[in-house]
């Protein structure tokens, strides 16, 4: 028996699909860049947790992190990379396709 759409769900890219990272990427897709504080407020994550998610996204080439100062105050700006935008779009397309397939799916008869 094939569980095709459900099997496909398990193959989604976890780097993008994790809820906190998906929120971060979605917010970043709608703007040029956002400060660390904005993403922290939006996701409700602790500083350490958010930093860890952002580090993973940066390692994966999905975001660009620009650490700087505004006077004496450290400010980190985060922007979605071209690759990140592409991956996010793919992800939403995949989710939509799987959703459609799953709603039509019926178990095969023996």
């Amino acid at each position: 028996m094939s569980n095709q759409p459900f099997e496909q769900l398990a193959t989604l890219d976890r780097l993008v699909h994790e809820p906190a990272r998906l929120s971060i990427l979605t917010a970043l897709s709608a703007c040029k860049s956002a400060e660390f504080l904005f993403l922290q407020r939006l996701t409700g994550l602790s500083k350490g947790n958010l930093s860890s998610h952002l580090a993973k996204l940066e390692e994966g080439g999905l975001v660009i992190i620009d650490k700087g100062f505004d006077g004496k105050i450290p400010k980190t700006k985060i922007a979605l990379s071209a690759e990140g935008r592409k991956q996010l779009e793919h992800h939403w397309n995949d989710l939509e396709r799987i959703r459609k397939e799953a709603t039509k799916w019926k178990p095969e008869k023996d």
């Binding site: 917010a27 703007c31 956002a34 400060e35 904005f38 939006l42 409700g44 105050i73």
Partner: protein, 194 residues
């Protein structure tokens, strides 16, 4: 993650229209416009037209409250606006309003031209390509209808004062509504700057 769940579209909308959603920024302008509707307000303060004072208070407040939002919730650099930029809108309105006022005072038209101009601006700008701002569209439509009051015999000065008061009051309500909607995105956790 926050325990509040929002549609992905809403998160996208917030980031795309971050400054527009900061409702409190409009409050000084709304109050300044509202006060213009009170009959006992003099037309000059220290020799300066009260409308100019109101404009200065509104724009100054808009900037300062913007700094508060930035400090508390962080900054978002928005994508280029695909409609007419706000600065150009304000410039156009700044040029057109004195002309419209001159027509209202000098030509005694059957409609409140300045009011109709502001209402048209609200309706047009409430219809950006991103998402229709329902409250501003409603305000624009109500004010557009109100601008025709001289047709039913209400004297123009009374129309202008009542217009100012109701315009300010409706802006104030919309501003508070926007701010409440904005705050719902952020969990109670008191974040700190890095």
């Amino acid at each position: 993650m926050t325990n509040k769940s929002f549609a992905i579209d809403d998160i996208h909308d917030l980031a795309a229209n971050y400054s527009d959603r900061q409702g409190l920024r409009i409050v000084p302008m709304a109050l300044a416009v509202m006060v213009q509707g009170f009959p006992q307000i003099p037309s000059l303060i220290f020799g300066i037209d009260t409308m100019l004072v109101a404009l200065a208070v509104g724009l100054g407040g808009y900037y300062l409250i913007g700094r508060y939002y930035e400090h508390r919730f962080g900054k978002v650099e928005e994508l280029p606006y695909d409609g007419i930029p706000l600065s150009l809108q304000l410039l156009l309105i700044g040029i057109c309003i004195p002309i419209a006022l001159a027509i209202d005072i000098g030509a005694h038209p059957p409609v409140f031209v300045s009011g109709l101009l502001i209402a048209t601006w609200l309706i047009v700008t409430a219809w950006p390509s991103r998402r229709i701002r329902g409250e501003y569209l409603s305000i624009g439509l109500v004010l557009a209808l109100f601008s025709f009051s001289p047709l039913v015999g209400i004297p123009m000065p009374d129309v202008a004062r009542a217009y100012g008061f109701w315009f300010g009051a409706m802006l104030l309500l919309a501003a508070v509504r926007d701010h409440i909607a904005f705050m719902r995105f952020f969990p109670a956790l008191e974040g700190q700057r890095e």
